[in-house]
Amino acid sequence: MFYREAGDFSTTYAEDSQTFPIKFDRYRYYLVLVVAFGIIPFLINDYWANAVFVPFLIYAIAAIGLNILTGYCGQVSLGTGAFMAVGAYACYKLMTGFPDIPIAIHILISGGITAAVVTLFGLPSLRIKGFYLAVATLAAQFFLVWLFNKVPWFYNYSASGQISAPERSMFGIIFTGPNTEAWAKYLICLVFVTFAAIVARNLTRGSVGRSWMAIRDMDIAAEIIGVNPLKAKLTAFAVSGFFVGIAGALFFSVYLGAAEVGESFGIDKSFLVLFMIIIGGLGSIFGSFAGAAFMVLLPVFLKNVFVGWLGWPTDLAAHLQFIVSGGLIVVFLIMEPHGLAQLWRLAKEKLRIWPFPH
């Protein structure tokens, strides 16, 4: 009834090609933005920021990045953890090297540096495909972790190799370091998420995105119809690297505040982000958010249920958490192989003809 194209007339080209052509969708989108920017920052406290919202937003950026590479361009990558580490270490070097420049600029530059590194590691994709490529990106994962651990320049020659984010502010508001207010952490991540989502959404709707999808669906066919595979694949690696780098920089500077490469950016992280996009839905920006929310919230939720409500010993709860998350992932893949985004799409289809389905 509310959700339909009928009666929604576009009178300009701009209106016709807008992101959310359906009015209901558009208002829903504005509503989400208003709640996210206007309401949550006033309600948020340390626990909700640090345990739920900040990791969710940061993982959403990383998931968008990986989704561009894997979901849109079809190149499976298992190096996300190490690529986030590139962003984190770049940000650390910039923060300590140029303390007066606003942190947001550092984060953007870190994204750029990561894009360059990821493109370099994307070169083998021109020859290697499928699982072979996935395993090849593991070479990047292990090599980069080793490198950041081994070369003292990256961690400013500190005794142990840990990096810690110093306090940095912008417009008089502290955004990194221990004295950051919960809402400031939340807002800076939210701004970057919004930026990433808008950029990604528009890129994937445009000619670049179409060339990625052509490569994904069948690279030889795409080449024949005139898509340059070198350009398409490497742009996908670069854009993906840019977002993943931003996520890594935020992860280190805003969320954790201190990090060690092997522990924070290990292979588990690569798998976690890959999980997010599969659960959420490959080739969908909404799916990246849904997947990130699912994978961040589920453990916190399960922990609170098992330990908080049922009062079980923490180790039993942790084991059950593994069992339940593993089981849920499998159930999800069986029930809806195309992820949460597909459920959303189906819901929209149903809505469109509701309440008169016939």
Partner: protein, 426 residues
Amino acid sequence: MKKILTASLVALMAAGPAMADLVFPSLSYRTGPYGANGIPFADGYADYFTLLNERDGGIGGVPARVLECETGYNTEKGVECYESTKGEGALVYQPLSTGITYQLIPKATADGIPVHSMGYGRTSAKNGQVFRNIFNYPANYWDGASHAVNHVLDLNGGDVSGKKIALVYHNSAYGKEPIRTLEELSKKHGYELMLVPVDHPGQEQKSQWLQIRQQRPDYVFMWGWGVMNQVAIQEASNIRFNMENFIGIWWSGSENDVLPAGDGANGYKALTFHNLGKDYPLYDDLQKYVVDAGKAAGAGDQLGTALYNRGMYAAMLAAEAAKTAQEIHGTADITAAMMRDGMEALEMTEAKMEALGLPKFGPEFTVSCENHGGNGLGAVAQWDASAGAWSLITEYGPSDQDVIGALVAEDSAAFAAENNIEPGCS
């Protein structure tokens, strides 16, 4: 309706005074790759407080409450645990992982909650003028490196020039800690240092131990953790390295590490800053009030193991610091800030340990604002495979404070500069 509301309100009020407990969060890890080591520590930590509650009715009359939160040795879960427990009035955090400690150093300082990283974490936190809320008594990694060298010096009549010492270490922040100290000490004593990193997780160490077999170092030190320990001890026994010359840090010195290698591990040495076994009056109480009463945190079969003792020791030090805080501030219901003062004024004497039923359990030490790291005393324990037990083979000895003091000052000054901290004691 009104009745029900009042009733539930009363119930809420009744639940209220529970907040007056002394809350000791325990960021444990009973799962994951290091779970086998986390379990005994967490059990020891919880059991000691259970004992205090059951036997003495708490600390200074206020019951202690241990809030356990599973981190799985994962930094992000550690953040979640910290945030979810700090609102409950947490008095002191024992992060139990180098990564989480580094996380909490700035956060806990900002929140005014003390952190006790006992024998791990950031070594330069010894300098309390910079790290106001961080404590790492009674000994730290650099002390450990020095103890190991001292032990080798003792074995060689004070002269180790020309000897070769290999350091087998976990290739991470933790494993790299002793390198600086060992390098400085090698300049001083003239031994040759050989570095042998092992990448996480350390299941395959053939090339490292072949290297050791070929280069024939006189002594091997180990900074290992998790599966790396078991494999290293197994490989050392495989290449017939003399176990008497193989010395591990305290985190490479639990029963878990030596048992899989069987008899091959006999004679292996490990550093420690507390005593081992369960031959203490306190353990009779633990058995009586906790284990036999069915209130033990674990299965009750870990009593007296190295890591259980360490967890118990950590709990004992926390309880003693809480008592000190209660004396200083004249109130039984202390806050985190008061706890900090108590930790800073903590003094462990032989008489005190004797009174607790733990004679000669740990070294004597005092904490002050300038020195959050205690006196840095440590001892060497040796594994007897046939008896299946560790025993101390040296007294608690001092570490080389000339060398370590300078390193601590340097590293803490760098931290202070990076974070705009004005060092001081006020």
